[in-house]
Amino acid sequence: LKAFEGDKVLRILAKNEDQISLLQDLTEMDQLQLDIWKEPTHPTLPVDIHVPFESLQSVKAFLEANEIEHYIMINDLQALIDEERHEMQSTRFIE
């Protein structure tokens, strides 16, 4: 099982096309192993990126250095998955 402990999903709000372009560069950095849930397209649409725990510092540093607004949408992805799994198991048990 692949675990996502400590992985976060960031919601990123680009202000302008320049920031969109920076985010597009970010999403192409293979070494960060980012999973792009919502791609950077234009400033009116938010960008959601699932960031592995190991890449968190690099991504946060990139966003802060470029003054790109962001917040944590999902704090611990694994916790949410565990919750979902627990709910499914409980339902099956009840059935």
Partner: protein
């Protein structure tokens, strides 16, 4: 559950449970529902389509859910749609008129290998599960693998990316099986491919900014569909062509279907807009399916009234 009335539509289900559901639905409604096998996935799982038909030689209206395996609310909504169809046929006048004129073809689990993988190994898996020669990364994005601007911008040539387009158009059996079925059917008039999340209803194109010839009609129909959808819970959708509404994407499903001559080609992005992403709580499955059904009804009715 021993029958589809006792099936829990408000929970997420495994592939085996969904297959059992389909078998029950067919057994309970032998004169209305048949299960077609249109091919096999890479890992040799059957690709099933439920055909809802009230008479021979009808035009078809296609709906697929779950081409991106982690978008669980879509498969769950597909199950609910299947039950809704058998409940409403003969009871709901508007829907009965639709099914008396067109068959509905519903593929609930379009990417079964990926779906199984999300239940057993990686909840966030999106692509198919075919290995890529020369790479340790697995799978192709089946919504970048269609022969419509294949290989253009908005798809990746890197097998490790989530939007990897694959080595060639229709290289994925999950895609090729639909291609072969659509071509052999020859009379599909509407095609809706359902994704999540973002709350959008989109029509072609994704691979080019050139508007489709039917843009005014498709745009107006999308507007009416999301208005009907929103009438239930007020869920806000945006709409437009893929490239103007979300982003450039080449090799997408509905660009191919439109170019095959299926005018009413749309793609949905269901709830939500970001609180949970692909982990939408199960208690939102039924509301999501209910509101989506209203949008689908608008498009199906328009298709029925404007067969070409």
């Amino acid at each position: 559950p021993r029958n589809t009335d006792n099936f829990d539509y408000a929970q997420y289900h495994t592939l085996d449970e969904i297959n059992a559901f389909m078998d029950m639905l067919v057994a309970e409604n032998p004169n209305l529902v048949t299960k077609l096998r249109i091919g096999s996935s890479y890992e040799q799982r059957p690709l099933y389509v439920l055909k809802f038909s009230s008479g021979p030689n009808r035009p078809g209206f296609w709906i697929d859910t779950g081409i991106h395996s982690r978008e669980w609310v879509t498969q769950a909504a597909g199950i609910w749609f299947a039950k809704k169809i058998v409940i409403d046929y003969g009871r709901n006048q508007a829907f009965t008129a639709i099914l008396n004129k067109m068959d509905i073809l519903l593929e609930i689990v379009t990417n079964p290998d990926g779906y199984h993988y999300t239940h057993t190994t990686n909840r966030m898996w999106r692509k198919t599960r075919k290995p890529n020669p020369g790479s340790s990364c697995v799978g192709v994005d089946p919504n970048r693998n269609w022969d419509a601007g294949f290989g253009g911008p908005g798809a990746s040539s890197n097998p490790c990316m989530e939007t990897y387009r694959g080595p060639s158009a229709h290289s994925e059996s999950e895609v090729k099986s639909i291609v072969d079925y659509v071509k052999s059917h020859g009379n599909i008039k509407g095609f809706i491919s359902i994704h999540s999340y973002s709350q959008m209803l989109m029509y072609p194109y994704g691979y080019t900014k050139t508007p489709v010839p039917n843009q005014p009609e498709l745009h107006d129909l999308a507007r009416r569909a999301i208005a009907n959808l929103a009438s239930l819970y007020g869920t806000k959708y945006t709409y437009g062509s893929i490239i103007t509404t979300i982003y450039q994407a080449s090799g997408g499903t509905i660009d191919w279907t439109y170019d095959q001559g299926i005018k009413y080609s749309y793609t949905f992005e269901l709830r939500d807009t970001g609180r949970y992403g692909f982990l939408l709580p199960a208690n939102q499955i039924i509301p999501t399916a209910q509101e989506t059904w209203l949008g689908l009804m608008t498009i199906m009715q328009h298709t029925k009234d404007n067969l070409y």
